[in-house]
């Protein structure tokens, strides 16, 4: 089967993950959204050599995976196309930054290697956090939450359409690659000479379809209010979750769990 078809199916399956039942799924989308944004900001704020500070940040996603029943495997499987890109970001650091910062016997570790690892971890953490948000919150509920947080209507509609547009675009891409390969048997990928017209066509076709899709929303009364999203009011446990998360991030950022544990062992 065409790779695009399976990518499309997987994307649709995000919706299926998002309607499951778990303590995390039941939380108010605004609480999850703010916690996720805070997590990403805290993760990005670590120093580029602070590998030991960054490692314990993994605890939060692990906790969420456990509580939501979402499989770690499914996360990495769905992200397999973007993960390598994120990992590649730091790949040149070892060559650029050769200052030695760690010496263990004859083994030396340069600053470049450490900063490469922290960059990779930051990328993976942020992806995991975003994945967990999308996998536990239907997109329409997320949009409703954004509106409650007074994010401008236009931006929210744009987010919603982009999300749906990705589906439409992968669908068109699947059809087009099928059509291409039927006329270029035995060829792997798409020949570079055809890329320009291919991309142009893809854009035009998916824009046409996205327009139809938006029309279909408008014709059924979509007016940038999310009455149709089924979100419950913000309750005590949502506030508790959010406060708990923020406190947890604050501790991880300031108390240096790793150093604390390390200190205990050495003493």
């Amino acid at each position: 089967m065409n790779k695009m078809h399976s990518a499309l199916r997987e994307l649709a399956e995000m919706d299926e993950l998002a309607v499951r039942v778990s303590p995390i799924h039941a939380l108010h989308p605004a609480a999850k959204l703010i916690a996720t944004v805070a997590y990403i900001l805290v993760t990005l704020s670590f120093d580029k050599y602070d590998l030991s500070g960054l490692v314990p940040m993994l605890l939060w996603p692990i906790l969420l995976f456990a509580l939501s029943g979402i499989q770690v495997r499914s996360c990495f499987y769905k992200l397999r196309i973007v993960l390598p890109l994120v990992m590649a970001v730091g790949l040149f650091n070892p060559f650029l930054d050769r200052t030695i910062i760690l010496r263990m016997g004859t083994l030396t570790v340069s600053g470049g290697v450490i900063s490469m690892l922290t960059l990779m971890l930051k990328g993976v953490y942020c992806l995991m956090a975003s994945f967990l948000l999308m996998a536990t919150t239907p997109i329409d509920n997320l949009c409703a939450a954004l509106r409650q947080l007074h994010v401008p209507k236009m931006l929210v509609t744009l987010l919603l359409l982009t999300y749906r547009y990705i589906g439409v675009m992968t669908g068109e891409l699947a059809v087009m690659t099928d059509a291409y390969h039927l006329r270029a048997p035995g060829q792997k990928g798409i020949h570079i000479s055809a890329w320009g017209s291919f991309l142009g066509q893809l854009l035009l076709r998916s824009m046409d379809r996205a327009q139809e899709l938006y029309a279909s929303m408008l014709l059924r009364g979509y007016h940038q209010h999310f009455h149709y999203a089924d979100i419950k009011p913000f309750r005590g446990r949502d506030a508790l979750y959010l406060l708990g998360c923020l406190l947890f991030f604050f501790l991880l950022r300031s108390v240096r769990l790793a150093q604390l544990l390390g200190g205990l062992l050495v003493r």
């Binding site: 279909s216 009364g221 979509y222 209010h225």
Partner: protein, 244 residues
Amino acid sequence: MIEFQKVSFGYEKNRPVLRDLSFRIERGEAVGLIGANGAGKSTVMKLLLGLLWGEGRILVDGLEVRRDTLPEIRRKLGFVLQNSDDQMFMPTVYEDMIFAPLNYMLSREEAEARVDAVLERLGLQDLKHRYNHKISGGEKRMAAIATILAMEPEAILMDEPSSALDPYNRRVVIRTIRELSQTKLISSHDLDMILDTCQRVILLSDGHIAADGPAEQLLRDRALLEANRLELPLSLMGRSQRSY
């Protein structure tokens, strides 16, 4: 219920798609809008829904189609898109069906009752909690029709409702259309389907109305149809008479 008064429209300058189009559809009528590919059938529907803007006046239930009247007008009209994949954008059939009623400020209980009533009427209860990307083309077309019926529109517009369906699903869709009591405007070049569902036919050709009259009469007029790149419905011609 629906009235076009000298409506003209072109996607590009100097290339009119519709020229001075005028017609009137009464409440409760079932009208087939026929014409070859590119005759302008979809364009007529999009103008009516305020998705495109042309010259001339378009009235729905006495109300002129303008930007300020659009919400009220769109509420009266249910549009079944040609491609059901574009019509259904929520994860499940149920969520798609309840989308419009909730947008129109019904309570969740009322909306849900309405969805259930429509599903039961069409015999589609099994589809309710299915995922849109996991149902067949025929099921999806029926789900799209159900989605529109859940809006309780006064008139239903359908763009090529029988396209890309196998014979069985085509029959199911035709039967469903026949049972709808609303005003209907159905575009198609499937003239057999039009003959089965409409009493009146408007034949579009080159941006104007080439003929307008009773379906039984117009769809028998071989010369007229062939002059407009259409063919007699199969049910009205013997197999041997077919010429290629």
